[in-house]
């Protein structure tokens, strides 16, 4: 099992109140996720296995972690 990352989610709503999408920010640590989520009331965050992240997000996170090791 791979180590977890975190995703912050924000619903995107149009002027008529219809949901038109979700914005997600994938980050490496819970502290960073909490920092982003705390800025707006209806943002939420959760842990996510790196293997379950979108491919581009997974690869980018892996590269940055390898670069800091």
């Amino acid at each position: 099992m791979s180590a977890p990352a975190f995703v912050v989610e924000s619903p995107a709503i149009n002027a008529r109140g219809v949901r038109v999408g979700t914005m997600r920010v994938y980050v490496a640590t819970e502290a960073r996720a909490l920092e982003i989520a705390a800025e707006v009331a209806d943002r939420t965050y959760r842990s996510i296995e790196i293997a379950d992240m979108p491919e581009h997000a997974r690869e980018t996170l892996k590269r940055s972690q390898e670069a800091t090791q």
Binding site: S10, P11, A12, I13, N14, A15, V18, R19, V20, G21, T22, M23, R24, V25, Y26, V27, A28, R32, I36, E39, V40, D42, R43, M53, P54, H56, A57, E59, T60, L61, R63, S64, Q65, A67
Partner: protein, 139 residues
């Protein structure tokens, strides 16, 4: 909540044949908190974009643009923006059509993320466009 708003000129551009939303290069522009879009903006040149250093490509892929029972829905594939280094802070995510030349790069609409976001190296910002309601509907 990230609120989606349309630019006023967009509806006129639709009526006058400026856009082909099925084939146009719908692209995302990012602006900072201090450079908020307003509904009266018409083209990309009206906006002050952030520098895109360390950020991946911003071109969207159109999945479908068809009507059902008289309501057209524009469906876009999820856009994944990855940071390979620090990216300038942004709050507004603007959709525009990069294909038309007159007017050049007309605006469609924008999302307000609600606060400034600065992506760090390794972080990813994705826009998961709704596959049922679409980015926008025309009825």
């Amino acid at each position: 909540m990230a609120a989606f708003n349309k630019f006023n000129q967009f509806v006129e551009n639709i009526a006058k044949g400026v856009h082909n939303l099925s084939t146009g290069a719908i692209t995302v522009a990012l602006t900072a908190t201090a450079n908020a879009p307003v509904a009266t903006n018409t083209v990309l040149a009206n906006l002050t974009e952030i520098a895109y250093t360390n950020l991946s490509a911003r071109l969207c892929t159109t999945t479908s643009c068809v009507q059902t029972s008289g309501t057209l829905r524009l469906i876009l594939a999820d856009l994944v923006l990855t940071a390979t280094g620090a990216v300038a802070a942004f709050q507004y995510v603007v959709l525009y059509d990069a294909t038309p030349s007159s007017p050049l790069k007309p605006l469609i609409g924008w999302y307000d993320y609600g606060s400034a976001l600065t992506l760090a190296n390794g972080e990813t910002f994705t826009i998961d466009f709704d596959n049922v309601n679409g980015v926008l509907t025309l009825a």
